[in-house]
């Protein structure tokens, strides 16, 4: 396969940041908060770059949907080895309402436009934990999907994918073109070295809007309320099993 790979990279709040809910409960605080590339997207980029290094594919294109700052995320992908980037600009209310279905439509359109052989995404984003975009993209394209991939190998003109599932590991063989979603153990992403960070400056990032791809990004979902999880109550220690049962009965749990 000497084709092109599209890799989706999402800009999310950094995993180490303490999340705070906005006072009006409409969402979480994002202003001035540190953002980075979704960890599973990093794994997706690493897999794509590795495939290119093995000469299995020719070009890695990093794609991100969002406001101006999404370009920083694309640049990180470029610094890791992607060849060029595409920034699909979505701002304001549209961005707040951007969900897996809209992103999947955008990716499906781009996959056709760029004549991609492979679309690799992270299995889920750590902000919404949806785990839907990859699957929806495959459905829209009518392509096979290898989700929760922990190992991917080329076998002739097919892809062998080992998937992490509840019961253990499942191995499937799918045709190309296909959609893959990266799970944790697929690989260990490389550091963006300083020379590559500087080289990434020269790589191109194309700009476009969803309308340019004839994609309608109107959301069919409305977020009603965002709340903090209930405060953890202090636990208590009991001496014996009898005490435990008594306390549980007291608390109405049993």
């Amino acid at each position: 396969m000497t084709g092109r790979v599209l890799v989706g990279v999402k800009r999310v709040i950094d995993y180490a940041v303490k999340i705070r809910v906005k006072p009006d409960q409409s969402g979480v605080v994002t202003d001035g908060v540190k953002h980075s590339m979704n960890p599973f997207c990093e794994i997706a980029v690493e897999e794509a770059v590795k495939m290119k290094e093995k000469k299995l594919i020719k070009e890695v294109v990093a794609v991100s949907c969002g406001p101006q700052q999404a370009q920083e995320t694309i640049r990180t992908a470029l610094a890791m080895g992607a060849d060029r980037g595409i920034h699909v600009e979505v701002t304001g209310k549209d961005y707040e309402n951007l969900g897996p279905l809209q992103v999947a439509k955008i990716f499906a359109a781009l996959a056709k436009k760029e004549e991609a052989q492979l679309v690799i995404l992270g299995k889920q984003a750590i902000d919404d934990d949806c785990n839907q975009t990859g699957q929806m993209t495959a459905a829209l394209l009518d392509w096979p999907q290898g989700t929760f991939a922990s190992e991917v190998t080329m076998e002739g003109d097919k892809l062998k994918v080992v998937r992490e599932i509840d019961g253990g590991l499942e191995t499937i063989k799918i045709n190309i073109p296909a959609v893959l979603t990266a799970d944790l153990r697929l690989n260990t992403p490389r550091y963006a070295t300083l020379p590559n960070i500087m080289k990434a400056k020269k790589k191109k990032i194309a700009n476009m809007k969803p309308a340019d791809l004839s994609v309608d990004i109107v959301s069919r979902l409305e977020v009603l309320k965002v709340e903090e999880p209930p405060q953890r109550e202090a636990g208590m220690k009991v001496e014996t099993v009898e005490d435990l049962v008594a306390k549980l009965k007291e608390g109405g749990t049993i």
Partner: protein
Amino acid sequence: MALHCGPQTWLQSYRLLSRARLPRYSPAPVRPLSEQASGKAAPSAGASETLGDHLIYTHEHLALKESLRKIIDTEINPHVDQWEAEGIFPAHHVFKVLGSAGFLGVNKPVEYGGLGLDFSYSMAVAEELGHIRCGGCPWPSGCKRTWPRPFGSEALKQEFLLPSIMGDKVACLGVSETGAGSDVSSIKTKAVRRGDDYVINGGKMWTTNGTQADWMCLLANTSEGPSHKNKSLICLPMNLPGTIKIGMWSSDTAEVFFDDVRVPCSHVIGQEGMGFTYQMLQFQEERLWAVANIMTTMEAVIQETIQYTSQRKIFSRPVLSHQAVHFRLAELSTEVELLRSLFYRAVVLFLKGNDVTKLASMAKLKGGRLAREVADSCLQFWGGMGYTSDVLVSRFYRDARLMSIGGGADEVMLGIICKYMDTLPKK
């Protein structure tokens, strides 16, 4: 990184950087992704770094800092507690990791494995290295010294500069002696010419990474005459017969003795007799590096103190809720910002080609003193916990004290500032 810091010349060691090797492909360093990607709390996740209207940093600087931070968080910080306990850190391993990622020699020439970027990139690296959770020992780049370019023969640069930039060789700095610290001109180590070699006798003290270094940038007396004009910088491999290394106080700060050590005369960097002058040329960068570094650590200490005191209760209220505490932290934070402004001003002027000796000396002076204040006040707020050895604040209290001594003591800084103010007594 010398961990149980006795006084060290980590700032002096900052000078010698040389290793020229043509950049070749090396496998990109990998980092492990934690299973609990969404649950982990990183030490200083508080202050977010966004571009905004930064005075000197661009997207690339921020990308650099992010990448370096990842390396620190995965390859260095997890091991710091162990290294502290052992009193030593694996210099070759750490420098190789940094060198492979391109973070050593950021502003060194490209032909020697550097990136040829300007000083602002070095400062971004310096700031980020302050995230290493080992107080005033931000020297995984240990002996990152500025090789006095363009001095030094091609052969020397290939043998010493390039490998150091690539992280394959560990360097150390040999300037201070038991009898000479601030007064560099009174060092006694001699390098006497015999045929095509120098024979070196004497000894050096406070050499950070001394026990692990592959080579030393040595300042020695190579002739008679005025003390400012009789010294030379020599690249000295550390494995020559006659070199005796003694580690001190379970730290990797060594005392090194030279007993008739022979080294080829070709190992002199630049001109003989110019060693002292070459040293002087690097001071501005060296001092600004130290300031960049300590600012980050001070902020981290203040942030951790806020976190700790917001949870720790005293008289049924969090310690932080007492005005004496949150007001004092506000004062300290204000001073850190003032230092930062002075630092950026000096860097901008330096980038434009100005002599910033006065500002750099002022910044170093303030940095050292402020670090002591921050450490002292914050440790007080930690109470008994602050006095234990496994919290950052106590490490910082011990390690940051060095800043007012090493790399140009406070008194030396004051002397320089007075010189510029023309207030020194006339001879």
